[in-house]
Symmetry: C2
Subunit: 458 residues, 2 copies
């Protein structure tokens, strides 16, 4: 990258950090008011924004016609489609109404008479959020960042540049009506700026990539800043020895077909070998009826031959080892037979992306073993992998889904955008010093008495 | 690094991950039993271990005599010093008796009739812990890892190699008497192995460096694996306009002199300019009486001239800008006057390592502003920065102190070694699928009813 990019990125990152620091003294009620101003400003600027969106769509149509862009990407750009505009605005209000994730005391202890310790939730700092195509993400992410007290630098896909610029402008206009600094939410346009920002770990505290596997991997490989998200969603369903056939059909079909392009869709079905002649053919038939292509190992393949459904020749074929490490993201499912629950768990632990896995079983002990033995963010019993989602979990909204193992795992709500700090207050006559404590004569002992407090009392 | 190192490291890391995965089905009571076996085995092997420690000490003495090692490093190697051996053993028992950080439900919700979601704490995975000199850290860290359910690979300083090897051997002998795999705790000897392990983010989940600034920075710059800890401890004390003189003297002297080499010792004193002729000379005199060297800006320096204490010439000098970015780790303190609380906060936010800062004040509003406006892991009022410590905070023990902004911040107890997973159970007649929910006719709505549960009921 050029020194210009570095210098521009440094200016942006510094301004974001300064805005974050200044915002720490702004009460959280002002952040809620900012969200309501943003909604108003978006309504005011609606015509202008939708004009810009039309220009983005026209440019995209040229790309589609020239075969350089997919129709599905073009559709994702469209802010006028169905109720997209209204639900974007509603999203701002919904986030505003969620409980404040900051200022909550999660540990409080009286260390000594008149010496009180409070662990209190607070924002992380400056977020760098990188996403593709859908321009309304600018508004979603800005709302989440503001609600949680974090500053954010946003980079959308170049296809939605005109729309994103006007959305950001509306957000900044709204922020100018509050005591939150307007550099709190900044939008950037170029990849070179992103590359430069990924170097600035003194200003940027967390990177949240939302997009393709290659986008996420590329970012993970090019920064020392912590990255929250997931590159892959290689989820499994396991049909246990005791699986109920109807549950197996419902859970497998929903996990695979409800939304095959989602990260929480199933990619591999693991079948206990005792089911090969019983439950498996029923599940296979239901999948074939839903036009799912089955990539089968020898045992599951040969079990289908006697019944030989008409679609067998086109939709069923023998699997390759690589199929079990592939996120199909389409109506394709890898299938494998195993001799035991423990082999199923081993296969899953070594092939899964540690996102979400489900067991179909009538056996409580097997359910318990699976949920503990499978090392994934979500371990489910008789339920579709598609339930792995912030809204379905009850978080109101979702920052993303993390397959990381620190800070936040699985669907991440607003809680994933906060950390905590420790506030310690001496109310004593002479302040508190550690030299007064210890084992010698006349030394004090720590008291460590629980304090019941929901918020910091000073 | 050579391909041999890579291959050896891969074998170690794979074995650690396999041991971790296998351990997920071992009840946590077995982890407590393992700690008691470790204590017994250390007692059995005491003579042998102390022999090895004597050999390490003899080799170190040669280095000290040749001027290649400091006496203080040699002293840290000595396991026979005072009650070090006994307190190492007691530490194992103490950790065993701490509350189990795993298996605790932190969120539970009924998503639908008979569809229950539990967020339950669980270990992170495989820890790589790198430390210097003190051999007893092998035992401390092994105890923390086992208690929290994490596998660990440990690398100590080469000076304590013989001792560390026998301590590890005792731990593995003890683990062999339990159902926890013995590869759960592995010790490695070479830096080349560490370098190779830092590449293996598919097996190693968290790196915990405990040692010098350069050790920590070097690791942070050479791995994609998350790193928990701190490189610097550049802590500040701020004397507010309303500071009480006696509290100021006590808090500043304790923060600086109680243990100057600690990361939570104060390195810079920030003084409100209204105190230059009142509180500051008293604080300065107390610091000089404690042999603290003062590096003063022009305002704080000239304020000392009229009183001109006898030690002024040797212990007081004019500061350079770099002094305010220096972690002295000795009886040296940088001093700066500021015109206001907000300038103090700005100076601290831009110079601090975000570890711990303290304000001395009689003004509640100033205390509140400081605690919120200063962006550090600990913000204290009328209390020494030295209180920033896991034991003092009441965590029983401490994994380290984190200046990171995700996962864990400040002194980290056992809670910092766990994350969570989501377990979802359908108890319904036909399993649960997302296709049944939605806005269309006959579709179900999510219930999101709180479940009161401390542990997962299956």
């Amino acid at each position: 990258m050029s020194s210009n990019d570095t210098s521009a990125a440094t200016t942006i990152a510094r301004a974001a950090k300064a805005a974050f620091e200044a915002s720490q003294l702004v009460p959280s009620s002002e952040r809620v008011r900012a969200l309501s101003e943003i909604r108003k400003e978006l309504e005011n600027a609606k015509a202008e924004i939708l004009d810009a969106n039309r220009r983005d769509l026209q440019a995209a149509q040229v790309e589609v016609d020239a075969g350089r862009m997919s129709t599905s990407l073009l559709k994702r750009l469209d802010l006028t489609k169905e109720d997209k505009w209204d639900s974007m605005l509603q999203g701002v209000t919904d986030v505003a109404e969620l409980p404040d994730p900051t200022g909550n005391v999660t540990y409080a202890s009286e260390l000594d008479d008149d010496l009180e310790l409070y662990r209190v939730t607070c924002p992380i700092g400056v977020l760098l959020v990188i996403f593709e195509a859908r321009p309304e993400v600018v508004v979603n992410i800005a709302a989440l960042a503001i609600k949680s007290g974090n500053a954010a630098v946003l980079k959308g896909g170049k296809e939605s540049n005109e729309t994103a610029q006007l959305l950001s402008k509306a957000i900044q206009t709204a922020l100018a009506k509050t005591s939150i600094p307007s550099a709190y939410i900044q939008a950037i346009q170029t990849r070179a700026e992103v590359s430069a920002l990924l170097e600035l770990d003194q200003y940027i505290d967390l990177v949240i990539p939302r997009g393709s596997n290659s986008l996420v991997r590329n970012i993970q490989n090019n920064t020392r800043i912590p990255v929250m998200g997931h590159a892959d969603g290689l989820c499994h369903v396991y049909l246990d020895e005791s699986a109920d056939a109807d549950k197996a059909v419902r859970v497998v079909v929903d996990s695979k077909t409800d939304y095959p392009a989602a990260c929480n869709a199933a990619e591999t079905l693991v079948v206990h070998e005792s089911l090969l002649q019983t439950v498996w053919p029923k599940v296979a038939q239901a999948l074939l009826d839903a036009d799912v292509q089955l990539l089968c190992d020898p045992a599951t393949l040969s079990a289908l031959l006697p019944s030989a459904p008409s679609k067998l020749s086109t939709l069923v074929r023998a699997s390759q080892p690589a199929d079990y490490a592939t996120e199909h993201l389409s109506l394709t499912l890898s299938v494998l037979a195993v001799p035991s629950l423990s082999v199923a768990i081993s296969h899953i632990n070594s092939h899964s992306s540690h996102h979400t896995e489900s067991i179909v079983t009538e056996d409580q002990a097997a359910a318990s073993t699976f949920c503990r033995g499978v090392d994934s963010a979500g371990t489910f019993v008789n339920a579709s992998t598609r339930f792995a989602d912030g809204f379905r979990y009850g978080f109101g909204t979702e920052v993303g889904i993390s397959t990381g193992r620190i800070h936040a795992r699985g669907p991440v709500g607003l809680e994933g955008l906060v950390i905590y700090k420790y506030m310690l207050r001496s109310k004593g006559e002479s302040g508190h010093i550690v030299g007064d404590f210890g084992t010698g004569p006349g030394r004090k002992q720590y008291k460590h008495a629980n304090i019941d407090a929901a918020t910091v009392p000073f």
